[in-house]
Point group: C2
Chain length 452, copies 2
């Protein structure tokens, strides 16, 4: 498969695709019909990001979704019409106002910072401060914005090394006197990254706000602009010095909620108000430029030198238990010399006793097993039933209220910090970044985000 | 470790424990203090079920929890006092009223049917109809009750063979003219069992109601009696012919909610209103003996012969994806000749592209991969982003709105029904037992159970 070309007429397309497009006399923004043996699509041919996957023809369907049609030999394209489109939207320079806070926006590849091209409805990554100002002019009333693309990957491809690189970038900016940081991030793994940054950044002096978008900015229902405005408000004006996620909070989409980075989870595939704080209500909300904190128990802005603790042990697993699970699952991790496993057990932190043999073996061989609950809500309670007591006697460590994803990140981070078994256990059970709740707030289980 | 003895003075205890208890002149119901090198507990010595784990001394603490103290050589017991206790509560015979429906209660080992011994506060399994009548006399106003212990295991130890045995029992009773069935079940894996029975039972003619208890019946906050009364009401009076879960639905605990067996999940470790229908509101509710259905789209009681489709392929796995996941996880399942994997991906149904190699290999070797979302809420949408499209091109099957646990049960069941790849795919995508939603009900994501 050929790589994407730096081709002016067909930006972001690979040579094999360009050959076909030229053969059918198609241009960017043409309204076309694509037929293969098995499928048929109608839509507008789109320019692509240079980071797009080669070998696909990308069109915008009538329903607003973009779809990539894989190139095949039997493909046929018919031109149905043409819409006026322009690939370059005007870029104004971002106005500087010395009275406003200075904010840095790091891009990682999420769609939040896509350009709003109303003429064509196309999604094109917009990322210079000037492009963002053109797309979301409200930003200039909130802050002075500088931007930097750290990497441009799909969030499902984030890796521990991506977290480390981001943490280093944050450290450098925070210690250079910036007032707040926004990180544009795909929503899929945003809560893994927010947890990782929470553990990796020590003595953080400013807010670090992760923000994304559930619908790309070309769709009428997009949350891009509003999320970006809310995140900029929190980065510029809040007194937080924590890693938080700021995304639309209610089905009415009137405000954004501010979630602690170690207590948040993506709970819906497509809704814009997909993120929920688990076990507590969110830290606060932001609406029309005004921040309202629901809680007072958070780290406040402070003059401190932000540091990093970056090391991460990648030989760790995340395993959900289920009826019928057999010893060979855990044995696999032992055989492959993994160093730790997060077990998301049932209920208060249980697994079938049929897999006790492999759990025993794993712990005897020095593997750390951290138990959390697949219920997501509530604390594990491994002293209530015999199964829980037996598991702790085998050496399984109860993970309190940790979400499975947060436990996974914390376990890798802890195993990166120390090799000493006692220190590992002690660090795992220590509240490092607000991941442990002293007690659960009952309303958190039922809260209706529309009424916060 | 010695086995539990059929000992009248120390029911449910193993010989090694009895020796120690006799040495310290302790009796059942004595108020004692147990000291070991590391711990110290005060409470009432309890009789145990014969199914309890040997090697433990079980006491009831002041907070209402029962705890098992493991026997050790350095153990010391001091008698602090004695409470009058009786091990046999009076058993009245369950009154028969020919006007009331006949209900069968199957026991599997959950704590729902424990005897309420108010004198001592002890938990002792109560299971004959007469014992249940003594404990929960309201049952006699609802139905004529017969009971049968199918097995007595912790719900985390349920296996596919347990589901098969239960399905056969239900089939037999349903075809013998019983009016409804209650299954007492531990809450940990109740939703796995409800899904399994939903798929395994065909043309079900009566309601099958799974019920459990989040707090044992000796605690003041117990939900045992109320859940049992609600479940009996649904089994006796509802016009349902489906497998449902009926458990307390709101934090006020005024009513029980009726959840479809294929759309329900345990969402809290300890709350009594732990079960939630995902993607929809519950089927209905039951309060003070009155059933209110919220929906009309369910199978109604019908004169039909209930059949079973029991076969289940056990060589299947349930894997949640996460950043940093490597190919060796999926490769393990291929190497071990598993036949199917449920992948709970991120967002709309994504995994890191770094594990595409192993996914490709698995599918080439005939392994079925069914994609669901770890968000739990919403549908997978694998045509929206390139990662999803690539995964479907590799042959991954999108699991729509299936919960990961339900997908696991359905995959095993489908692979038990047919070996034909086209039939497997077609059955996986067919709505067999109400597991697929035509569309999601938005309120389901936010519903406050107190207001249903």
């Amino acid at each position: 498969m050929s790589k994407n070309q730096n081709n002016e007429k067909f930006p972001g397309y690979s040579k094999d695709v360009i050959d076909i497009l030229e053969k059918f006399l198609v241009k960017i923004w043409s309204i076309i019909e694509i037929k293969t043996k098995t499928t048929e699509y109608k839509g507008i041919l789109l320019p692509r990001s240079k980071f797009s996957e080669p070998g696909f023809i990308e069109i915008k369907l009538d329903n607003g979704y973009n779809i990539g049609v894989k190139l095949s030999k039997d493909i046929e394209i018919k031109i149905l019409g043409k819409r006026e489109g322009k690939y370059n939207v005007p870029e104004k320079s971002f106005p500087i106002n010395k009275k406003l806070p200075n904010i840095k926006l790091f891009g990682t590849g999420g769609t939040v910072a896509c350009r709003l091209d109303y003429t064509t409805g196309a999604v094109i990554p917009a990322f210079t401060p000037g492009e963002l100002f053109s797309a979301v002019p409200e930003l200039a009333n909130i802050c002075n914005l500088d931007t930097e693309i750290v990497f441009e990957i799909l969030s499902e491809n984030m890796k521990p090394s991506s977290w480390q690189k981001l943490a280093e970038k944050v450290e450098k900016e925070a210690n250079s006197g910036i007032d707040g940081i926004i990180i544009g991030h795909g929503t899929d793994t945003m809560s893994f990254t927010s947890a990782a940054l929470s553990f990796m950044l020590k003595d953080l002096s400013i807010p670090v706000v992760l923000v994304g978008s559930q619908r790309s900015s070309d769709r009428p229902s997009s949350d891009s602009a509003l999320n970006l405005i809310n995140a900029a408000t929190v980065a510029a004006k809040s007194d937080l010095a924590e890693v938080v996620v700021c995304m639309l909070g209610s089905s009415s989409h009137k405000y954004g909620l501010i979630h602690r980075g170690t207590l948040v989870r993506k709970m819906h595939t497509s809704y814009r108000h997909t993120f929920r704080t688990i076990g507590n209500i969110p830290l606060g909300k932001v609406e029309n430029g005004k921040i309202t904190m629901f809680q007072n128990d958070y780290h406040k802005r402070i003059k401190s030198e932000t540091k990093t603790l970056l090391k991460f042990e990648e030989k760790i697993g995340l395993v959900y238990s289920y009826p019928g699970m057999t010893n060979d699952i855990i044995n696999f991790y032992v055989d492959k010399e993994y160093r730790g496993i997060v077990l998301a057990g049932t209920g208060l932190g249980h697994t079938s006793t049929y897999i006790f043999d492999s759990i025993k073996r794993a712990i005897e061989e020095g593997i750390i097993i951290l138990m959390v609950t697949q219920c997501l809500n509530g604390f594990v309670g491994m002293d209530v039933y015999s199964t829980g007591r037996n598991l702790t006697q085998l050496g399984v460590i109860p993970g309190k209220n940790l979400l499975p994803e947060v436990a996974y990140v914390k376990l890798g981070w802890v195993l990166g910090q120390t090799q000493n078994p006692d220190e590992i256990k002690s660090l795992l059970l220590k509240n490092i970044a607000g991941e442990f709740l002293e007690r659960e707030i009952p309303i958190s289980f039922n809260y209706n985000a529309d009424e916060l």
